[in-house]
């Protein structure tokens, strides 16, 4: 059903909200819960960046997640990203179409000075 509307972010966003109200959870909350359960992170941040893009107010389409977990120890970055993508597979195949991922081990997190970088500005094609 959702694939049919993959070209139309407005309908998708609406569908998304509808689904979320059915389970009484926003997409943001679902993402947070799934990452929490899987990675038991030392630090977790789920940021809804949809407001930065060309989508209706209240949309849940663009997210940034910061996950600091020991489960990333000795895993190359591409593998870490794959782990996160896998956990959020359902969200990514429905309404969420942009996901910025930052994965660090607790040690790397301390060394980096707990710094979360900024996402690049939108270029207008956000709903595409």
């Amino acid at each position: 059903m959702k694939n049919v509307f993959s070209h139309c972010p407005r309908i998708l966003a609406g569908l998304n909200r509808l689904m979320a109200t059915q389970t009484n959870m926003t997409v943001e909350q679902t993402i947070r819960q799934k990452l929490q359960e899987t990675f038991q992170p030392k630090f977790l941040e789920v940021i809804n960046e949809s407001y930065m893009h060309n989508v209706p107010k209240g949309s849940e389409t663009h997210f940034k997640v910061v996950v600091v977990s020991e489960k990333f120890d000795s895993q190359p970055m591409i593998k870490r990203h794959r782990m996160v993508n896998e956990v959020l597979k359902d969200e990514l195949s429905s309404g969420v179409h942009a996901l910025s991922i930052m994965t660090k081990t607790p040690q790397q997190w301390n060394e980096s000075g707990n710094n979360i970088g900024k996402s690049p500005p939108c270029r207008g094609g956000a709903g595409l």
Partner: protein, 148 residues
């Protein structure tokens, strides 16, 4: 008249229109074989939203900027917004859900976040070296040292 126009029309059609038609309507552009042919044996290949001249997504733009920064010029870029089959096909090919996607030496490297990280930690210079591309950053560093 028709005889005269026919070759002209045919040539134009075979070059541009036909290529666009294939890109837009053929399922084959999303096939593993087709994507293999796009990435294998190529130094740097980017699947993005929009074109390097006019990216239509901030993440795609970031990848273009990083490549510019390293002086990588002759990479091939494929606009997934112009070809829905390719857009879906590339995601299946790499089992990676988001665009942009970057290949170096035929190998999938990652998306925007990974390119940015590799740029920051110097790995990108090494990856480019593997395909005989000397990052422009190396020249800059040399220049700076000379001046210093």
């Amino acid at each position: 008249m028709i005889r005269l126009l026919k070759p002209i029309f045919f040539e134009a059609a075979s070059k541009n229109v036909f290529r666009t038609m294939v890109a837009r309507y053929s399922v084959a552009t999303g096939s593993k074989e087709h994507i293999d042919s796009l990435v294998k044996g190529k130094k740097v290949v980017v699947f993005m939203k929009g074109t390097p001249e006019a990216p239509r997504c901030g993440f795609s733009n970031a990848v273009v900027q990083i490549l510019n920064f390293h002086g990588v010029e002759n990479y091939s870029a494929h606009d997934v917004l112009a070809d829905e089959n390719l857009r879906k096909g590339i995601k299946d090919y790499t089992n990676w859900p988001t665009i942009p996607q970057v290949f170096i030496g035929g190998e999938f490297v990652g998306g925007c976040d990974i390119m940015l990280e590799m740029h920051k930690n110097g790995e990108l210079i090494e990856e480019l070296k593997k395909v005989d591309i000397k990052s422009a950053l190396l020249d800059q560093e040399k220049g700076n040292k000379k001046e210093g």
